[in-house]
C-alpha cells in the first residue's frame, strides 16, 4: 500500500514537472510586454523642441481631454510608415497630438518634419531616453492615448489603419 502511494505521488510529480516544462517550451523567448492600461502618466519637466524652454507635464495635459503621445525619431524607419496616420489624427479636433523626440539629432528631426509634415502640437525633447522609459516605452515608435491624465491605450510599434479606426472610436 505504502509503495503504491509513493509510486503514485512520484508519477504525479513527474507529470506536473513535465507539463510545466512542456508549457515553458512553447512560450516565446521574445519579450512581449503586457499592454498595461489605465495607469497615471508620469510627472516630468522637459525641454520643448522648437521653443527651447522647459515645460512641466501638468501644463501640457489637462483633465477631460484626449491626448495622443507619440514617441518618434528621425532615424526610426517605422516612424516614417506611421506618419500619415498621425497627420490624419491631427485633423481631428477631439485629440491633441504630442510628440516625444527620442535620442535624435535636432537638424535631422527638423528635416524629417519639413519633409513629411508636422502632426504635433508640442514636441518634447528626450535626449537621454529616460523620459520614454518613464512612460513605460522601450523603443520607438510607441504611442499612448491619454484621457484624464491616465493612459487608456498603448500601441507598441507603428500605428496603422486599424489603430486609426480604433483611436477614432475611443475619442
Amino acid at each position: 500500500m505504502k509503495k503504491k502511494l509513493i509510486s503514485i505521488s512520484l508519477a504525479s510529480i513527474f507529470i506536473i514537472i513535465f507539463f510545466v516544462f512542456y508549457k515553458g517550451l512553447k512560450n516565446t523567448n521574445i519579450y512581449t510586454p503586457d499592454v498595461k492600461i489605465n495607469y497615471d502618466i508620469p510627472v516630468f519637466s522637459a525641454n520643448l523642441f522648437y521653443l527651447n524652454e522647459e515645460v512641466n507635464s501638468a501644463n501640457i495635459f489637462k483633465k477631460d481631454k484626449f491626448y495622443l503621445v507619440n514617441i518618434w525619431s528621425s532615424w526610426c524607419v517605422p516612424c516614417r510608415d506611421e506618419h500619415p496616420i498621425l497627420m490624419e489624427l491631427k485633423k481631428n479636433s477631439n485629440i491633441t497630438v504630442i510628440g516625444i523626440n527620442y535620442k535624435d539629432n535636432k537638424k535631422n528631426a527638423q528635416n524629417f518634419l519639413n519633409q513629411l509634415g508636422n502632426p504635433y502640437k508640442k514636441i518634447i525633447v528626450d535626449q537621454k531616453g529616460t523620459l520614454s522609459i518613464e512612460w513605460g516605452a522601450f523603443g520607438v515608435p510607441e504611442t499612448f492615448v491619454i484621457y484624464n491624465k491616465k493612459i487608456i491605450k498603448k500601441y507598441i510599434g507603428p500605428l496603422n489603419e486599424e489603430s486609426l479606426i480604433e483611436i477614432e472610436k475611443i475619442i
Partner: protein, 121 residues
C-alpha cells in the same frame, strides 16, 4: 599638533566622500544587474550597452538621487514594464510554481529519506 589633527581630519573627510560615491555606484550596479534588458537576449541592463540599457542606467541613477530605495525602484520598474523586467520576481499568482515546487520536492525527498531511516532502525 593642530596641523596634524587638521590634516588627518581632511584626509578622513576626503575618504568618507569617496566611500559615499563608491556606495552609490555599487547600488546602481546592483540594481541594474537585477533588471532585464528588454531589447536584448539574456542580458541584464548592467551587461548591455544598448540604447535602452544606457537610458535605463541613467534613470536608475536619477531615481537614486531622488532618494528612492532599491525596493522602490524595482516596484517602479515593475509597474512600468511588468514582472519580466525583474530577474528576481516576487511571489505572485504567476510565480507560485516557481517558488513552491523546489520546496515541495525537497520536503517530499526528505520524507522518503526519513521513512527509510526509520525502517532501517
Amino acid at each position: 599638533m593642530m596641523k596634524i589633527l587638521k590634516f588627518t581630519l581632511l584626509i578622513y573627510f576626503i575618504f568618507s566622500l569617496n566611500f559615499l560615491y563608491a556606495s552609490s555606484e555599487d547600488k546602481r550596479n546592483k540594481i541594474t544587474k537585477n533588471l532585464r534588458c528588454l531589447v536584448c537576449q539574456g542580458q541584464s541592463v548592467y551587461d548591455s550597452d544598448s540604447e535602452f540599457a544606457n537610458s535605463m542606467k541613467i534613470l536608475v541613477e536619477k531615481k537614486l538621487d531622488e532618494g528612492l530605495s532599491e525596493k522602490q525602484i524595482y516596484k517602479y520598474m515593475q509597474i512600468k514594464f511588468g514582472d519580466w523586467i525583474l530577474y528576481d520576481p516576487g511571489l505572485s499568482k504567476n510565480t507560485y510554481i516557481l517558488w513552491l515546487l523546489p520546496l515541495l520536492i525537497f520536503l517530499f525527498g526528505g520524507a522518503i529519506i526519513y521513512k527509510k531511516l526509520i525502517k532501517k532502525n
